[in-house]
Amino acid sequence: MGRFVVRRLASTIVVLFAISVLTFLIFQAIPNGKPEDRLAGRTSTPETRAAVRKSWGFDKPIYDQYAITMRKVFTGDVISYTQQVNVEDEIRRDLPATLSLAIGAGIIWLLLGIAFGLFSAMRAGRFTDRALTVLSLIGVSTPVFLIGAVLLYVLAFKLSIFPNTGYVPLTKDPLDWLDHMILPWIALSVLFIGFYSRVLRSSILDTMNEDFVRTARAKGLSERRVLVRHVLRNSMIPIISLWGLDFAAVIGGAAILTESVFNLQGVGQYAAQSVQALDVPPVLVITMFGAFVVVLLSAAVDVIYALLDPRIRLSG
């Protein structure tokens, strides 16, 4: 176990390092994407640009720039190009919106995904099962921003049931917060519900045929008891681990599209805006942050997975 943790940690560091280098290089490669041209303004003179280059350290060799930036990432001193504000402060400010989205939607998609999957499996082959399958397939086939835009059009614009985009902090007005979060939660959940219910359904059907379930049935346990005590417990393992990873991804800024459509001003939207403005420092910090959360939670999920499932041994 200890060796496993050490190994995972080592590979995590390698991956994070590579991600930071890659992000840095992607933006270096852009023609005319030199930050000094933008920082110095549209009518700037060559002298101004030279001064900007010097004061921001763009005249240094690229590996130096990388090293300086990375040092700042760890000391929390990264400053963005466009608004020249502390990037980590910005992320901290954006995090509540992203967390609200991730936690709310995460709970919805987990519960509904399980409910639909369970229902589908119990009615396998019958009409309800087919209907749910079709619904979940439509769910995984629709882009989240299309769902979001249509929801906003119908429920916010036409019927005025919900507010038209934006985020209100929970601490400011809990009811208003809820009002603003419901549509984003639904939009983001649809895809995951569709997917989770399908995973759970096939996982349950698989487990039903396993020996230990047959044994349990043979022992005369009620079908319901078999389903809950034996089948569901086993089938939930992949669902929970999936949930951990998806949840991590959303916190790490993967819900870019949802946040943009609903203008939640979360981490993902900040990332999208920074990419469009070719503002490297925030993009760098957010990708590292996102990757870190994902890698960390996937390691945690591995450990939990191993603890839950006796068939798996962690080899080091």
């Binding site: 023609p31 920082l39 003179t45 002298e47 934006g166 070719l278």
Partner: protein
Amino acid sequence: MQKGFRGLGAVGVVLAVALGISACGGSSSSSSSGSPAQGRNGGEATVLMGTAPDFLDPGLAYTTQGAAADWITYTPLLTYRHAGGKQGGEIIPGLATALPSISKDGKTYTFQLRKGLTYSNGQPVKAGDLEYTIRRSIKVNWGGKSFFTNYIVGAAAVDSGKAQKISGITADDATGKITIKLIKAYGAFTNVIAFPAAGLVPTGTKFTNLSNSPPPGVGPYMITAVQPNRTFTMVKNPKWASFAIPDVPEGHLQKITITINSNTQAEAQQVLNNQADVFDPGDTLPPALLGQIRSTAQNRFAPVTIPSTFYFFMNTRLKPFNNVKVRQAVNYALDKRAMARLASGFLKPECNFLPEGIVGHPTSCPYGDPNGAPDINKAKQLVQQSGLAGTPITVWGEMRSPRKEYVDYYTDVLNKLGFKATPKIISDSTYFPTIGNEKTKAQTGFADWIQDFPNPSDFYLLLDGTAIQATNNQNFSYVNDPKIQTELAKLNPVPTSQLNSVASQWQKLDEYTTSQAYEAVYGSEQVPKFQSNRMNFAASTIHPLYLDDWLNLSLK
């Protein structure tokens, strides 16, 4: 994401013209011109902004959104009149007692600071603070700092780190006398001193971006409660009224909350439903709501034309635009009515480079009525005569709407004329550096100019042959015409106050430019003035330079 922050370069915008009323068919009251008027004092209002200010720090702000907050918080020695239309472009004394006295050679400006001024934190204002303020703007790399470094003696040396202080600015704290020495005469220097970046901050203010907690200033309002990209609040500066500066009154509203939301549709909806009070004129009204706004909110909505030039540049160094016939053909073929529809009606068709409201604006158009149908046949004929039909053309454009749509349309027009045109749309943030780079060899594409101050020379910077440079070039058409150069040499040094005496010369020059078809101009931008029914719509104004003028907002 692609909402309107005005050109990276120009503190967006400028001079005035009371077009608001004529443009909307006289449906609204005579609001946008004239005096600040009779608003009720007190109360609070919410202003919605679609694009966050680039900076709230006066030393760094360069977009209209930033300037909107800063110009009523950090008053410079000179400032603009708080009025809409032409009057808004007038330079008036701010913290100075009067307009400066200018030496005969136009190189020395002398100001007298008002007495008894204090910053919002109670610290007394000293004459020496001006040098510090300008030095700070230079050192924190304000986007327009070349206006300082190019003209003030010793400013460039501070920029490059060779000097500690700007030698060209001297001040006497005891008497309040300030003298600024220029490298060369510059007619528009009073406009430079009126930039919010020259709005005084106390000596000792840090040389870092203070946008999150803006430094104390001398102005009718103070910026508080800043949450970047989300909100900030303007509250009245209690000390201001006692300074009794005649043309910079105290505001009406006690408190103005600015909320930033990039979803302009949601914003417009809120104003329409009276949940918020002011729609930011720097934003584009969503076409989806226009019809509803025009029909149900006509007494609190008006489009206001701002002096600006929207045009397609045509690189005179490259095929096919090195041929004047091709350039003229483009001017004949553009259907400006179509472009106005792409802008949801927020474009006033024009064909000359100097827009209406700028001294020297020509009144006629050699390529037919800008509001009429284009002459495609004439255009095709010209292309045929040029023998350049079939030339491949890359048309450059920005991502944001409706600029992308303009370029898509223009590409189609070029194809109709027989060229092989394809659009190339790139991200807004790299657009101008890219087309301004000589190596890009951009043939043609979108360009705009919303000027820094009310002076035709600011527009002609874009056609000045000596301004051509390898990177960050603004003369996208690479115009280097001896006739234009001789005229500019004569006209550029004329001080802003004497512009009217050379109006006819500017007009002749612009008519010549149009006849040579150096650019394909299609119009001036219009901005929306749109408020809730709580607001005194008639008393509020759209300022020609900064668009927002929160000093003139008041409740009914």
